[in-house]
Symmetry: C2
Subunit: 366 residues, 2 copies
């Protein structure tokens, strides 16, 4: 090895010399006050490599040198240039959050909170989060993913709002890149996922209602939730939980529109319900309106429970009981799963189901 290495260490014609004559390649960029590893090395009186070791393999450096170099690093505010590091190691230390195709005027109300939690979780592991969206007008997210991959900008992907048979999951699986999803496509496609245990949450809701003495209850949610697994699960979960807790679930009215369905629940032929479990807080709001429209009082006459625990729950009169999602846990599990794949290479995909917490307020206790 050393022989061949010596061979091209420095060709007499200087072809291999890095600091050869005619330093013509300098770019125009301003180094805006950033110290380089070279500065640190010079200042500390060591070689570049030693500085690198201080950062990446401190155990190899003599404690006293360590100390001195670290002091210089601190003083100069040095941080390694991430581009250079990435170029060398192939690690981007960046995760892509692949947002679902969505209308800015009807945003997922949870997105903000989820993203904050995600950024914190990634940050704790030394990773940044790059936000990504399909190009406007494109419904196919494939192109966006391919671009990111080709430009080698991220080490892995986080998906949210994963639908049944989600194209993004399908595509990422085929590329073999690490990804983790908030939500699941289904058992046919192995993946690292984290999800809320919607069924368990609805069981908690049913248990709560049963304990409060309700007997006839209704579920209020979009009727076309086949593509939205989380909503379908809540519906199914509540139906089954109602049975377990001895609640009579009034058949869902086939009315067109949520408002009509809500009104129908309150004048069901076999007697109206005394409690409504809603698929989301916004659906619960529809329930509020229907209850009032029928001349009844939320809480006193009809209990209502929402889902998501948006800020509006505390503003409503009476305040709305709702299911709060453990966004921070969710985000950290997602990041953990993703990093396991990135670091471990081929960690077996696995899933985590997280419990959500029922926040009881006056809408179901008055």
């Amino acid at each position: 090895m050393s022989v061949t290495a010596a061979g091209d260490t420095d060709g007499p014609d200087g072809s291999a010399s890095p600091n050869g004559a005619g330093g013509s390649g300098g770019p125009r960029r301003r180094r805006r006050g950033g110290a380089t590893i070279e500065h640190v090395a010079r200042e500390a009186g060591v070689s570049r490599q030693t500085v690198s070791n201080v950062l990446n393999a401190p155990e190899r450096v003599r404690p006293e040198t360590l100390e001195r170099v670290r002091a210089v690093i601190e003083r100069l505010g040095y941080q390694p240039d991430q581009s250079a590091r990435s170029l060398r190691t192939g690690e981007r230390r960046t995760l892509a959050y692949l947002a679902p195709v969505d209308d800015p005027h009807d945003p997922n109300p949870l997105m903000g909170g989820f993203l904050e939690a995600l950024v914190d979780a990634a940050g704790a592991a030394g990773y940044r989060v790059l936000l990504f969206r399909p190009r406007p007008g494109t419904t196919d997210p494939t192109a966006a993913v391919d671009e990111l991959i080709a430009a080698r900008q991220v080490d892995g992907f986080v998906l949210a709002d994963v639908l049944a048979g989600d194209l993004r999951v399908r595509h990422l699986t085929s590329t073999g890149l690490p990804f983790a999803a908030f939500g699941r496509t289904g058992p046919d496609m192995p993946q690292s996922w984290v999800d809320i245990d919607n069924a368990a949450a609805m069981d908690a809701v049913a248990a709560h209602l049963a304990e409060r003495g309700h007997r006839r209850v209704g579920y209020l949610g979009p009727s076309d939730d086949a593509d939205l697994p989380w909503l379908a699960e809540r519906r199914r979960g509540f139906r089954e939980a109602a049975g377990r807790h001895g609640l009579e679930l009034v058949a869902e009215p086939a009315e067109a529109g949520l408002a009509a369905a809500a009104r129908a629940l309150l004048r069901a032929p076999a007697g109206r319900v005394t409690a409504v479990a809603a698929a989301t807080d916004l659906c619960a709001l529809t329930a509020y309106e229907a209850v009032r429209g029928a001349g009844l009082a939320v809480g006193a006459d009809i209990a209502v429970v929402g889902f998501h625990d948006l800020p509006l729950c505390r503003v409503l009169q009476p305040p709305l009981s709702s299911v709060r999602l453990p966004l921070r846990r969710l985000a950290s599990e997602l990041v953990d799963g993703l990093l396991a794949q990135i670091r471990g290479g081929e960690a077996p995909p696995s899933g985590v189901l997280l419990a959500a917490e029922l926040i009881v307020r006056a809408s179901s206790t008055t």
Copy 2:
């Protein structure tokens, strides 16, 4: 072509060949299927930076060569490695979104929609968006900014929810890095900003109410809005606009709590109001509750107008009139201003005030 190409296609002694002997410096990274510029060059029978020219200065390449190289690029799905490019040029082609310190359980309801618009606007200009937050537990965002700068990961910053005397603005100004803000700190600190014209929006609200025949009106919003410029502007804007439009603005009750203030508006000594302008949609919801609590009907008896046009506006009964923010315009202005600084070097900071649109619904027309 093929002749010259043959020269460096595979030099046996490989002194100039990138895959020459003694490849001791090769990192462990897997090149996950990504083509390099070298591959494209070889495949197309040209030199490396002819390919580079095709990408960065197409006018210097003969059309027929251009064509051929582009075909290869397409076929190989080649995209330049962003890390390598950044290392060389100093351009990151990435913008940081510096999120405000915020509670994940009480997120800014607009953040999701704004971020989507921002990502789209940045993407249209070839930039990505990196999400950033102060480290949890830290209230001082300075450290976070410094880290990003030191690691040279972004070309500029986007700030949202800028408060009066915002620390982030102060710090970024002192570093001299390009940034653009959604919101303003005040006239003392020059900066590139974009903001909603809250006063004009409130004028539209007042005009609308006057046109509907209202004479006595009230404003409902948090009383401690001194630190929240956008809320303070709405309050002030509505007060002044009311005067212009011949509306009598009932003095704001000094009650503790928004709900109490809302109730007070409806039993003001000099006669109750017939319309309420709210600082946000959530405040409008509080108004709804107060109106109902007083045995009155929103729309028929008391008009209510919100601000933000959240999805909940359409769910409420009656649907809530509200002011819709031009998020897409906002985002693209922000990106434009930022890129002007980044590219132009020292573009003079300037501000843009955008008009928001009043969406009239039944809450103010029944």
